[in-house]
Symmetry: C2
Subunit: 410 residues, 2 copies
């Protein structure tokens, strides 16, 4: 199979193809999606009666829909045996463990491949370090494909792979079929034909920060996280960004919104490979920040945090300068967007506790609305490959949006 | 009538109140709105047959709905007599000239009151210059009310006023009932009870730039302008901003998005009354820009354009510096939002032609996506009180969203 003829990203479900569904009721499709979303949104297993209560559908309708979803693997029934208040045994429904997606990531410092199931669990995965700044995609992508094959070989039998996504630190074409440019990798104009086939699919490409932000917006496929509105900043060699309002990404006109790493801190600041000067990533990108702290550029955010906590003067001043640079740019973002919550990812997550006091103070001083709603700064957690998880979450969200493709025939 | 008990902004229609409609078909409401929107969106008068064709409704259904809308004044029928291709006389439908709204504006340099009808025409209006920086709202608002009363006295008989809005250069409460702060006026915490009653209504408050941007997004109520996606910059003493995507404003979480005037050009720049430093409005606000050009702060953008075109060195360098400052901030906005079109209003519109070459060059250099979509700069035109027009447009949009309130009984 050549990459040109490989199916794209999402493979058709085994039950009912899109064509034959055209004559079926779109109402059934919408109701299947509603039931699947209701079960997936819940932190606790739900009974059929719970689903009926939350969806305002009758129990018999819900039962038919649940049967179809269970048949297609979109939902699982756990063992009955929990006794409800009325003494009847309830059959708890949970997202299906047999449906999963592959998430891939190429970062300046690592390659990642992982598989997430519909319950949001990482059921297989590997991250391998490397040095991919200014790298050759024709060398790196085969390495990624080999890593993906190893991970897929680890999968338990019976797990169905429904899609594959690839997180890249750059601008992606609006259709998700090509990379336009990833300045820090030195990659540009990468078409679908250049991408590896993994698990029988050409992965759908996405911006790393947009995909990583999904892991904050959704703690599991279809289950919202605690923040619905936030600006996500992804700290790597470059600085990616993503905007989330009401739990949904704000892509802009072409899907390129969120390039916060190229907002100027100081227009007379250092030159950036993007062609501009004084961009945020020249101040708080991984290498820039670690070098300013007197650490090797291969050190981690954790090393910086340790040095700053130990009172190492260059580390302390590097953290203070980073808080200032982030404050200047993020206050501008808050003023423009009116989304007064910032989530720091990547190496910035590892120093978030140290950045927070100064950064929140800069945001208060520079945001016009801070008197009414004070901006907040939180850490995204320290997952090194959140982009890979987000790429898998995006594919799984397609299953929840169109569960009829996976459910048994009507 | 005290302001506390005055009806808010939009007065109930004379035909059918909301309560009694509760039992009527919401389908009829949606269809009335669709017919009204179809006629208003068209640059040319439409026949009933045209409306039927564009809405996929039957001619008899359209005729019933049109009769109701004409009865309520939402649509007007022009004289038949235009002969269509098939030789039948068509009755052209146009937006109703008898429904209008009042738009008010308080700016640092003027007060405005104007009335727009559903066809988008200014049917009455006045703008009076003044000096309202650091002014007292208890003095200024009665002046505005008197101006509004004069304008309303000019209205032709038979015009029904359906709402009133007030554009202010500041942050407004999410509900539109109060001004939180307008730094350049020196106003803060202005509640509905402080607002004047005009035409029997307490005006609904809105941010001046958000309302002015409506005059770009809509050339008449419900008729889209040529740009669907743009960043609007309102040049006054301060610099307001507004974000429009797909023809709709992006308000952010609390309605405070678009404060581009307080994005820093240079964090070490001049102090701003907002508490930050180096804000864009310290560079390109009216007084800052004119003073830099060696002109009195009361001069106009047109005076600056004349001086720059005459080669006056301080004017030329002030324009170049303004293009640079705008380029730094707006490139950041384009990078964050992926909306690569900028519309300049107020005094900036008057120098837009002079700013454009340098500003577009700065935007190309500093926007990551400029290689694929080059950012553009256009002028909003030179209406001195676009905010007042936008305030009226917002009220009229309510009529189009809920025409059942105005149409005859079903």
């Amino acid at each position: 199979m050549t990459s040109a003829t490989a199916p794209r990203a999402r493979v058709p479900g085994p039950a009912v193809g899109r064509e034959s569904r055209a004559t079926q009721s779109s109402l059934r499709e919408a109701n299947l999606a509603l039931v699947a979303a209701t079960v997936c949104a819940s932190a606790e297993p739900l009974s059929r009666a719970d689903v009926a209560g939350r969806t305002s559908m009758t129990r018999s309708t819900v039962s038919r829909l649940v049967d179809d979803l269970v048949g297609g693997g979109v939902l699982d029934e756990l063992e009955p045996g929990v006794v409800t208040g009325r003494g009847r045994p309830a059959t708890p429904l949970v997202p299906g463990a047999g449906i999963a997606a592959l998430g891939l990531q190429v970062d300046a410092g690592f390659l990642a491949a992982r598989v997430l199931d519909l319950r949001g669990r990482v059921v297989a995965g590997r991250v391998v370090d490397g040095a991919f700044v200014g790298s050759d995609p024709t060398v790196v992508l085969p390495l990624l494909a080999a890593l993906a094959d190893e991970v897929l070989a680890d999968l338990a039998p019976g797990i169905r792979l429904v899609g594959a996504g690839l997180a890249l630190p750059g601008l992606v074409s609006p259709s998700g079929t090509a990379l336009l440019v990833a300045p820090n990798l030195g990659w540009a104009d990468l078409e679908a034909g250049h991408l590896p086939v993994v698990g029988g699919m050409v992965p759908r490409v996405g911006n790393e920060a947009d995909l990583a932000a999904r892991t904050v917006a959704e703690v599991a496929p279809g289950r919202p996280g605690p923040l619905a509105d936030f600006v996500y900043l992804s700290g790597e060699v470059g600085i990616g960004g993503s905007l989330v309002l009401d739990g949904r990404g704000m892509p802009g006109r072409h899907g390129w919104a969120g390039e916060i790493g190229h907002v100027p801190v100081d227009p007379d600041g250092p030159a950036c490979p993007c062609g501009s000067t004084g961009c945020l990533e020249r101040y708080v990108g991984r290498a820039a920040l670690l070098t300013a702290a007197g650490l090797p550029p291969t050190a981690s955010g954790r090393d910086l945090a340790d040095a700053a906590r130990a009172g190492e003067p260059s580390a302390v001043s590097a953290v203070a300068r980073a808080a200032w640079a982030l404050g200047v740019v993020l206050a501008g973002v808050v003023n423009v967007l009116d989304i007064p919550a910032v989530v720091l990812g990547g190496h910035l997550a590892q120093v978030a506790d140290l950045l927070r006091p100064d950064l929140e103070e800069h945001l208060r001083t520079r945001s016009l609305s801070a008197r009414w709603v004070a901006p907040t700064v939180t850490s995204a957690g320290e997952d090194p490959a959140a982009g890979a998880s987000g790429a898998a979450l995006r594919e799984l969200s397609e299953v929840l949006a169109h569960p009829a493709d996976w459910a048994g025939a009507a």
